[in-house]
Every structure is written in structure tokens, then in C-alpha cells.
């Protein structure tokens, strides 16, 4: 295998780390003075679903670490049906790499795993970016059977990335055009790709969303325990995880900035990747104990 060392998710080799009872697939690339940035992926997404327009510029200031959770891509094991178990796997992965301190970017499902990891082991995490995600106890999280989404899944003319373009982007021509560019970028990597997730992955992860919508005690109270500076990002027209979940994150996390993009859906960070990188890089470059940057 050609071990290209270019700092890009188009060319970075897939690597593997062994921990007890488990082998995780991952990629790490980039360098700079910032702490490593652990990137946690969306529903059914693999290493190949990370948009190089997002990962690669971030890799110019720090090491970017992409990771397949248990049962995804070429990681062994079974896809958990709870966010809590996914967080346990992701912490085991960090332990396997010997990483004791990092930043985290969690997108969608990955943002829920990020929150749980920070609650479980706060000392590891310096700063957190939560994109297109929801707190425990949120609402309208990945209900793929609702008409605004099911119309795409049940349309036989749409397959694979064509569905992704529909569900990650707003219906406008401008957003759909950005979606087409996004899926084009996902195909730039031609070798050493992950297997695409199958229905078992989807079923287990959907179960984890249903569990995440449940809460006991005071709603959103857990968020008060997360003191890390956080940047919450979303597209105002997110159909997959309604934007009010991002509002709740900003309202209940004590130290979070909220940034909402216009004319964008779930994949706002991919649509507005230049702006997203600009904001994310400035946020991550800050050493303030406060979120505003």
C-alpha cells in the first residue's frame, strides 16, 4: 500500500489500532501547534464520509483524527444501540492511541457521542465543536420516516450519494448545488476505501437516536456539567436533526457559542466549508476559557 503522507482525507492511509477485544480503523493526518482534533461521524458514515474540504484545512493547524466506531467500516465489533456504548468505544480508541488530551468535532450522531465522552471523561477534552446535533432529550432527531425525509428514501430514482445530497442540504438550487459539490468531493478518494454501511448499521444507530431522545430528571440538566468552550453549528433548515436542538444546546451548555448558517440543512459545515473552517479554526486556536472567539 502506498503510504502517502499528504495531509488529506483523499490520500491518508487507513490505519488500525488494537485494544482488548476490538480493532478500530482510523486515519490521522496533518500537523500544527493545536491539540489533535478527534472527528466523530454521522449516521451510517464511515471514514470516507468526511469531506476533505472540511478535514484538510483543519489539518493544517493540528492533527486530524478520523475514526470508525465499533461495527463501522473496517472496525470490528457490533454497532451499539446506545450513544453511551459508542462513547465508551471512542474513549477506548483514544486510549489505544495514547491520546490524553484533544479537541473534538462531533457531527450529527458524532455530536451526541462527543457530549457523552465529555461527560464521561471531562479531563481529556479541551474544546468541542458540535455540528448538526442534539442534546439528550432533544426532539425530531433522525425520524427518517417523516414525509420530508421519507420522500427521498422511497424514491427509486435516488440512490447512495444522491440521497445524501437531498437529506444533508436544503431544497434550494444553491444548497443542492453545494450538495453536488460535496458528494463529488467524497468520491475523490479512489483507493483504500471503507465498506459502505448496511441496514444493520442503520437499524442499530436509529435505535441509539430513539434512546437519546429519552431523558430522566430535569431536561438538559447534564449539559450544565460541560464547562468546555463549545461551538454549536447548524444549518437553519436541518430536516434530519431540527435546528431547535442546536438552540437547546446553546441555551443549556454554560459556555457555548451558537452559529447558524442560512440556506443550509444538516450538512451546513460541508456547504459553507470555507466559512466553517474559518470559524472552527479561530475557535480552536483560542486558549481562552470562554467560548467566544
Amino acid at each position: 500500500m502506498k503510504m502517502t503522507l499528504t495531509a488529506s482525507n483523499i490520500t491518508a492511509p487507513t490505519r488500525f489500532v488494537e485494544v482488548p477485544n476490538q480493532r478500530y480503523a482510523y486515519r490521522r493526518f496533518g500537523n500544527g501547534s493545536g491539540p489533535p482534533l478527534l472527528c466523530l461521524q454521522h449516521f451510517t458514515g464511515t471514514l470516507d464520509n468526511w469531506d476533505p474540504a472540511v478535514t484538510d484545512p483543519l489539518a493544517s493547524g493540528r492533527e486530524v483524527i478520523l475514526f470508525d466506531n465499533a461495527g463501522i467500516g473496517r472496525s470490528t465489533g457490533v454497532v451499539p444501540e446506545t450513544i453511551a456504548e459508542m462513547a465508551t468505544h471512542a474513549l477506548a480508541f483514544l486510549d489505544g492511541l495514547g491520546i490524553q488530551s484533544c479537541d473534538v468535532l462531533g457531527f450529527s450522531l458524532g455530536g451526541m457521542v462527543a457530549q457523552q465522552m465529555v461527560l464521561d471523561r471531562p479531563a481529556v477534552f479541551r474544546r468541542m465543536i458540535l455540528a448538526g446535533t442534539a442534546p439528550r432529550g432533544g426532539e425530531d432527531i433522525m425520524h427518517l420516516d417523516k414525509p420530508s425525509l421519507s420522500r427521498y428514501f422511497t424514491n427509486p430514482a435516488l440512490q447512495g450519494y444522491a440521497i445524501l445530497q437531498k437529506i444533508f442540504f436544503a431544497p434550494s438550487l444553491s444548497s443542492q448545488s453545494a450538495g453536488e459539490a460535496f458528494t463529488g468531493r467524497l468520491m475523490l478518494r479512489t483507493e483504500d476505501r471503507d465498506e459502505i454501511s448496511g441496514p444493520d448499521v442503520a437499524r442499530a444507530q436509529l435505535a441509539s437516536f430513539r434512546e437519546w431522545e429519552q431523558f430522566t430528571g430535569v431536561r438538559f440538566a447534564d449539559l450544565k456539567r460541560i464547562g468546555q468552550p463549545t461551538l454549536v453549528v447548524n444549518g437553519v433548515q436541518d430536516e434530519m436533526i431540527a435546528v431547535r436542538n442546536s438552540y437547546w444546546l446553546a441555551e443549556h451548555l454554560p459556555n457555548a457559542m451558537l452559529l447558524i448558517y442560512p440556506d443550509a440543512g444538516h450538512g451546513s459545515l460541508f456547504q459553507w466549508h470555507e466559512s466553517f473552517h474559518h470559524h472552527a479554526a479561530e475557535f480552536l486556536a483560542s486558549n481562552s476559557r470562554f467560548a467566544p472567539y
Copy 2:
């Protein structure tokens, strides 16, 4: 009078412009390559209520223009009881100065006037910043009689700027401390100050808020007609104009970024003035037809 030309609201001389039936007081200072920035003020606020920590850094990239609407400070006339009439005055003021193109920063009441001005004469405005404000048809706009606010107005121990510190900032020690610094900065200007607004100003402006809460037809439909790139800013704990009004602005303006600050109330731009300036300057420096920066 000493005509100091320093680009600061601490020292800029108050000037006057005559238009038919009206004389407006204003200050203009600063320079740079950007279009002039018209700043529209909050409930009962005068030229002296503009925080130099916000106005002065912005004046390093453009001319900043502060303005007393009719019946405020040393402007002649009667304070209108509708936002529409305030917008008419502000447009007459721009005409009086011969300004045909500018950006606008509207804070609170001023943000409502800014929206109305852009609807009335869209060609004048390039980019818009709306801080701590609400769309027509918004809710929980300046209800000073609700317990969370009236407790300050009815506390005899609180007067003047001490009330402002309470109502513009969150209850936390950190926010109140920022509020104390803010009111300290408002007192740095020692000469050529406006008269403080009296109860007649408050009464008329409160009437304008009640009128602004009304709407006919489809709620928030007017916002769709505002194509200007817009930056919507607020503090997550705004008690004076609830933050959901900022959410509505971002959801219905077709081209708006939303930026919400933590641990902050109505005066988030004064509390986080370094961050606010950073974001506002980058937003205003952009020549993109899109809001993201």
C-alpha cells in the same frame, strides 16, 4: 467647544443636520475603505449610550455614524409611537447627510428600525447587523412590567446606569462584572453629552414595541423580502427581547447568519465586545452576496 477629531465616541463632537421641519443630532467619526456604518440605538438610548468599546474599533475600518432619532437627545421633534415613523426619520437623516449607500447596525429598538428602513428603501443598504432585536410579530419584546425586569425598576437602590447593568447583562457574576465595565465606559465621555431621556420618550417607544408585536397576514413574511446579508447577534439570556426573536430572524431572513453569545443578556455585544468587533468587522469586510463570512 474643542473639536477633537479622534475616532472615538468619547471625544467625537456632536453635530447637527437640518432637514425640513427637523434638526437631528449625530456624531460621525473614523475612516477606512468600508461603507459608512449607521448605528441605530436602543430604548431611551442617546448618542452617549453607544459603548466606545464597540463603536471605536469599528471606526478603524469605516466611518461610524451615531444618530439621535426625533425627540431623543438634542434632536428636535416628537418621539414617534411606531417603528415605521422612526424609520422615516432615520431615512430623512441619511438624506440630510447625502448618504446614498451604507451598512447598518441596529441594536434592540434600533434593529427594528433598521429592518423597516431596509424594507422601505432597500437600495441604500449593503449589509446589516441586528443585535438583541426582534422581527415584526415577535414576542416578549420589552415587557418591562414582567417580574424578571420590574424587580429592577421598582428597586429604589437601583438608579440610572445601575439599572442598565442589571437589565442588559445576565445575573452571573461574570456578566454583571462586564456590565459594570460597560457602564464605566459610558461615563468616559465627560463633555458635550446628550440629555438623558425622560418618561415621555420611554412611553412613546414602549408604544412602538407594542405596535411592532402586531402583524397582519403571514407571520414574518416581510423578512423574506430582505435579501441583504445580515448578521443576527444576541445573548442567550436576553430578558428584554427574548432570544427566540433572534431565532425567528435567522429562520425567516433568507440570508442571515445567527451568532448567539453565552452567559450574556441583551447587551451581549457590549459584554463580548472584542469578539463582537471581530465578527462584525469580518462580516462587514466581506463583499460576498452571502451572509456567511
